[in-house]
Structures are given as C-alpha cells and as structure tokens.
Symmetry: none
Subunit: 83 residues, 2 copies
DNA sequence: AGTAATTTGTTCGTATGTATC
DNA sequence: AGATACATACGAACAAATTAC
C-alpha cells in the first residue's frame, strides 16, 4: 500500500524501504531484477521527495538487499544467509 | 514587538506565543500559511533558545491555533468555534 | 551517428525532531 | 533557559552516464 502514514513513528524512508522489502520477499521483485526507479517510487508515494526515496534505497543497500549500479539502476540481490 | 520582557511575570514562551497569536488575529498570518520557522523566530527574539521557541509553538498547537507537519513546517489552522 | 529520454549523483536551502551539555 | 550537534524531510536545480529510438 504505497501511502505514507504521517502519524507513524516510522520515518517515511523506513516505510518506503519496508514496502520494497515486502515486494522482494513477496517474489514480486526477484533477484537480478531492477527495483522501480527513484522517479517511479516518488510517484508511488505521493508527497515524498526524491531525497527521501534515495534515503530508503540507501537503507536497503545497507541491509544488503539491493545493489546500485551507478546511473543504471538498483537491482535485487540474491538472498544472503547471514549467520 | 519582538523583544522579550525579562521583567514580565509571563514566561518567554508565553510572550512569544502571544506575539504569534496576535499576528494570527491580526490577519498577518492567515489560515493555511506557515508561521515563521523556529530559526526565524529565534532571530526575531534575540537571546532565546530554540527550545523556548518550540515550547511556544507547542503551546499554540495545544490551543488549536496551528498544526505542525513533522519536518515540514507549522501552519495556521482555520478559526475554530469552540462552544 | 545523433538526439532525446531516463536514471542516478550531487548539492543547496529551509524546516522540524531529538538528544546532550 | 540557552547552546550545540546531528538526523530526517521536502523542494529544487544541475551534472553525468546510460538507454531508447
């Protein structure tokens, strides 16, 4: 449900990251596939700034869920068994 | 007159809140418009801390005069007829 | 080959949230 | 009450590489 809950204690970037994570675990976004572009995500979450979208993607990157190829896109990584 | 009266029995935050309230009732600040930012207010009332400004704004919020959109700004609400 | 569209990179300015001293 | 620091958020502008046609 792409809609930011402004009353949540979760930051918008956290909500966006959670949404993408959900789609990955869902199988909607599979390893090797690109996630939606920043512009697209911004449209999916009206009222958000691109800087916030980028913050969310950075978070996913930090979690090791995705990989960003400069100026090409951000792609879903294979599941990592982190012991 | 943005100048804190240190001899007044009114707390600085009350004086600041009163000043903003005055500007709202004045029509200087109208519904839907953002009130001056915390930084601006801090400059308008030299010698005050941001925490004090925030306390004043919180007071206005409690009174139902303004609404704060987290990390976006504080806006004047339409007049409320409180019976 | 060449141009336009797309996508990420970078930076600036302004605003509030939270914490510490 | 004041001072300082850092984080998140929105908006905007521009740069650079890639892709599409």
């Amino acid at each position: 449900m792409p809609e930011i809950d402004r009353t949540s204690r979760l930051y918008p970037y956290e909500q966006i990251a959670a949404w993408i994570t959900h789609r990955i675990h869902n199988g909607d976004l599979r390893p090797g596939m690109p996630i939606p572009s920043e512009t697209t995500l911004q449209q999916e979450f009206p009222g958000t700034a691109r800087t916030t979208i980028r913050r969310a993607v950075r978070h996913l990157r930090d979690l090791g869920l995705v990989e960003t190829l400069p100026r090409r896109g951000t792609y879903v990584l294979p599941p990592q068994d982190h012991q």
